[in-house]
């Protein structure tokens, strides 16, 4: 007997169609999602804040608007989760840190405003690695999140909570942020779609900054089309973000069905070999064969500089973070420790409020910028970025997109890597180069391994190349026929 699909299992496209045909209401949709959350949160802990009241009001308003003929677009009435490093006015925003426990922002992030304007229903704020620093969501000060495919394993990070909500069905879509792979890697580990768009296309106003020149907000969703619709809803020029792109934005939907015939696909040589699980490499090979079969010209491409990209990332990101996190000092908001002088107060507040990973990176970043070391570390890392950008540029003269596994491994067990920072950092090896150069990337689930753990396939494109990227991703999705789902027991609260 086929299981009746619950509303929370629908994609955004499917739910949107039913809302418009009057089959369902936004309130019903939300109720299904909230119900699902109640039954899964004890096991997966996707959310830090479930905003039942706010979501209800938004769902009711969405129904009213729709009935009155005011159709706000593809996200109208759709329950969306937002990573807790994006400011939501009146709703606690913690960046999963003790230092912001109880902090309620007086303003909305730009993307949150865009969601409201689009009639979306914000379900709540999802868990993350503290200040987005991590690859497993184990660095959250409020407890980790767990992978719906196997709750003894991590969902990846830092947007682990958002990925889990989508994978578990306690949101139809979510927003995350990606600084070194923090959307794509958890998407890969939880079997969903995750997109990091071109740097500058989604406003960072209201995103609690980790590394300013690397951070980008993007969608996590169940399908490539859902991701495209979500991205289109939140991207665009924002005058409150000076790094916001003000030119023409790519069309994401037009080429989704165009297939890959005649497209040149470059396989990044360096993203294979030692450290890559067999299942991951096999899934890669299978998909490449299918792409070739569908008319793509598949070639090997070498980007030798990616070998030191992660090293550059671990200088640039902490350096910028050390300055971005300097504002957390107990003076104007957040946690404040005791102190007889402001100097003592600040130092104690920060020591008490930051977890070990954050402390590590702030120290690292401060060091990399300090007198005498600046040029050898931070300065040199910037040069690596420039070289990498040149290398990608040369590659794109020969291919239309680049591809790789999203992550060298499937979801690892909770606790496996927490004591070994370097091994944790290496999980971002395939994703971080795109942040360094500002190019877009998407992870599409393609297969599961023998343990029913998902494998993700990454498609990369040049800056503002989202059209061809989504086009290839849609074909990958079709060719993969990924139909597995996590077996997650519902546990009554």
């Amino acid at each position: 007997m086929t299981k009746q699909r619950s509303l929370h299992d629908l994609t955004i496209v499917e739910a949107g169609a039913r809302l418009r045909s009057g089959q369902i209401t936004a309130v019903e949709l939300l109720d299904s999602v909230i119900d699902r959350a109640h039954k899964t949160e004890a096991q997966v802990h996707a959310y830090l804040t479930l905003d039942r009241e706010g979501a209800r009001l938004a769902a009711e308003a969405a129904d009213e608007a729709m009935a009155a003929g005011d159709d706000k677009g593809p996200l109208h009435g759709i329950p969306i989760a937002v990573k807790d490093n994006m400011c939501t006015r009146g709703v606690e925003t913690t960046a999963a840190s003790q230092i912001l426990a109880g902090y309620v922002p007086p303003y909305d992030a730009h993307v949150v405003t865009r969601l409201h304007e689009a009639g979306a229903v914000i379900v709540g704020k999802t868990n993350l690695d503290e200040f987005a620093m991590g690859s497993s969501t184990e660095n959250s000060a409020y407890g980790p999140s767990f992978n719906p495919w196997d709750i003894s394993r991590v969902p990846g990070g830092s947007s682990g909570g958002s990925a889990v909500a989508v994978a578990a069905g306690s949101a139809l879509g979510a927003l995350g942020s990606d600084t070194g792979g923090s959307i794509r890697q958890p998407a890969s580990l939880t079997g969903i779609v995750g997109v990091k768009p071109t740097y500058g296309t989604v406003s960072r106003y209201g995103l609690i900054a980790f590394a300013s020149s690397l951070d980008q907000i993007g969608p996590l969703s169940k399908s490539v089309t859902d991701a495209a619709l979500t991205l289109q809803t939140v991207w665009g020029h924002d005058p409150l973000d000076a790094t916001s792109y003000s030119g023409e934005y790519p069309d994401l939907l037009a080429g989704l069905d165009a297939g890959v015939d005649g497209l040149r696909v470059g396989v990044v040589e360096e993203f294979a070999g030692e450290g890559y699980e067999p299942a991951v490499e096999e899934a890669m090979m299978t998909m490449l064969d299918r792409l070739a079969g569908a008319g793509a010209k598949v070639v090997q491409v070498s980007l030798p500089t990616v070998d030191i990209a992660l090293s550059a990332y671990y200088l640039v990101a902490p350096a910028e973070a050390s300055a971005n996190l300097a504002r957390f000092d107990g003076i104007r908001y957040g946690h404040r420790a005791a102190g007889a002088t402001t100097e003592a107060l600040m130092a104690r507040t920060r020591a008490e409020g930051f977890g070990p990973e954050v402390t590590r990176r702030v120290l690292l970043g401060t060091y990399a910028l300090s007198a005498g070391y600046h040029d050898a570390f931070y300065g040199q890392a910037q040069r690596v970025r420039a070289a990498l950008r040149d290398e990608f540029g040369l590659a794109y003269e020969k291919v239309d997109v680049l591809v790789s596994p999203t992550s060298p491994t499937v979801a690892f067990r909770a606790g496996d890597k927490v004591d070994d920072p370097l091994s944790m950092y290496l999980t971002d090896i395939c994703t971080n180069p795109l942040n360094l150069v500002g190019h877009p990337g998407i992870s599409v689930p393609v297969d599961v391994d023998e343990q029913n753990l998902p494998v993700g396939f990454q498609v990369m494109a040049p800056a503002l190349g989202e059209s061809v990227m989504f086009r290839v991703a849609a074909e990958v999705e079709r060719l993969a026929e990924f139909s597995s789902s996590p077996v997650l027991e519902e546990v009554a609260e």
Partner: protein, 483 residues
């Protein structure tokens, strides 16, 4: 006794009076209730981002051009990282190695001599909030606390750094005043030292005359008036010389000027010098100040003090007079310009304006813009005196009449019966009478006491109710006495 040469550089911070702050839309306004002009950006809330104010950039360009600087075609912002409670992000957005303006100069006049002070750079940054230190009563151990107001946080600030070209405390004061006048003239800042919208720090060192290497540099802060600037620097120069002459060593440090005690105090030295860990601001993009932008700003510049002084010198004033006139209100300067065009001799015109006219304005509480004296009228007044129609003392009265709206100088002189009698035929009888009435004086004159003419002139003046032209009277008397 060895001769010492003071070497002084001045750092100026100028608050720009734009409508809104440097990186956000909060109002730039003073005296408002604390923390009422704040937003996520200038409060350093999580997630906030800066966006530069274009007008502030127009204005730093204006300052740089007025200071004869080279404009960097491309410049960037940097983060200057340090922790302080009034600095919300615990970094200041500033500029490090690519400031907007570089290598300019300001000419100042000190003791009638023009000195060129080099400007190393002018860059754009943001101001901090304000801290107020208070004692809190009612607690068991009445500890002090600090109160923070972020209304000022994010106000656009231009930092102007001179080369160490200044050689005396007096010169430093003139430089500071000149710079202040310049930014006020440009209309970019209130530039009020007492209010803090312009702030000066000095770097002072001394070296034996003739030595090329610089001595130990000491930074002086907390000079809140031009007078205290001069006093503080003078004090510091003397202090340094005294230390060195007694065989001691100077410490490179920051010292605080204590106006009451009239000394500089050492401030607590921090461990080592600050490591600001500058890096390019990743939340902002580079600025490209293309030639057409710069030209637009340049063509909009008003006449600046130095150019104005030069122009006045060309009209016939000496350097000091040109300086005095340059500092006079615009309305008076406009009268001067028109008076000179109407033919008035430059020096007379300036003397009248900065002397009697200004005194009259003060006495009557009249604003310069409201005076009714035109350039041609002033020219006419001068002519009347020069041609002897009115005496110099009568001229003051005539001026008053003109200023009171009674009409042109000639009209006023006539209606107030101040026209001198200079016609010799008219004066002859009075002269004859005076001579006749004072035979002793005549005799004394002829005996060699020529000075007695003055007495006789006085007699004629009395007889003519002061209306006789004393020069003509003198000539007539002398002629008759000699003849």
């Amino acid at each position: 006794m060895r001769a010492w040469e003071p070497v002084i550089g001045i750092e100026v911070h100028v608050e720009l009076m734009t409508n809104s702050k440097m990186f956000c839309g909060c109002a730039v306004s003073f005296g408002d209730e604390p923390n009422t002009n704040v937003c996520p950006v200038c409060l350093g809330l999580p997630g906030a981002l800066p966006v530069p104010n274009r007008k502030a950039l127009d204005w730093i360009l204006a300052i740089g051009l007025a200071l004869n600087c080279e404009i960097s075609e491309r410049s960037v912002f940097h983060r200057k990282n340090y922790f302080y409670p009034d600095l919300p992000k615990n970094y200041q957005i500033s500029q490090f190695d690519v400031p907007v303006c570089r290598e300019g100069h300001l000419d100042v006049v000190v003791d009638s001599e023009t000195r060129r002070i080099g400007i190393e750079r002018a860059h754009m940054e943001e101001d901090t909030g304000k801290s107020i230190h208070v004692g809190v009563g009612g607690r068991i151990h009445a500890a002090e606390s600090t109160l923070l107001d972020f209304n000022r946080s994010g106000v656009p600030l231009v930092e102007i750094v001179s080369h160490p070209d200044i050689r005396s405390a007096a010169e430093a004061r003139v430089y500071a005043q000149e710079l202040r006048a310049l930014v006020a003239e440009l209309g970019v800042s209130d530039a009020r030292l007492e209010e803090g919208s312009i702030r000066f720090d000095a770097n002072v060192s001394v070296r034996p005359e003739g030595q090329v290497e610089y001595g130990t540099k000491v930074e002086i802060k907390n000079m809140n008036s031009f007078r205290s600037l001069e006093r503080a620097i003078a004090y510091e120069i003397d202090r340094q010389i005294e230390v060195l002459e007694s065989g001691g060593n100077l410490v490179q440090e920051t010292r605080h000027w204590d106006e009451e005690a009239a000394v500089t105090h050492s401030m607590r030295t921090k461990e080592g010098s600050s490591d600001y860990r500058y890096f390019t601001e990743p939340d902002l993009v580079p600025m490209y100040m293309d030639p057409s932008w710069v030209e637009t700003v340049r063509s909009g510049l008003p006449e600046l003090p130095a150019a104005r002084r030069a122009r006045y010198v060309e009209t016939g004033l000496d350097v000091d007079q040109a300086g005095v006139l340059s500092d006079a209100p615009a309305a008076l300067r406009a009268v001067y310009d028109k008076a000179v065009i109407a033919g008035a001799p430059a020096k007379s015109a300036v003397n009248w304006l900065t002397g009697e006219v200004t005194a009259w304005m003060r006495r009557t509480g009249t604003d310069p813009e409201a005076i009714s004296l035109t350039g041609p009228q002033l020219a006419e007044l001068v002519v009347l005196v020069d041609e002897g129609t009115i005496s110099a003392s009568a001229a003051k009265e005539v001026l008053e009449g003109v200023l009171s709206g009674e009409g042109d100088p000639r009209q006023v002189a006539e209606s107030r019966d101040l026209v001198q009698i200079s016609d010799t035929s008219a004066l002859n009888s009075a002269v004859e009478e005076a001579l006749a009435a004072n035979p002793d004086a005549v005799a004394n004159y002829r005996a060699g006491e020529t000075k007695v003419v003055g007495f006789l002139v006085g007699q004629v003046m009395r007889a003519t109710q002061g209306k006789a032209d004393p020069k003509v009277v003198n000539e007539l008397l002398t002629a008759k006495l000699d003849g």
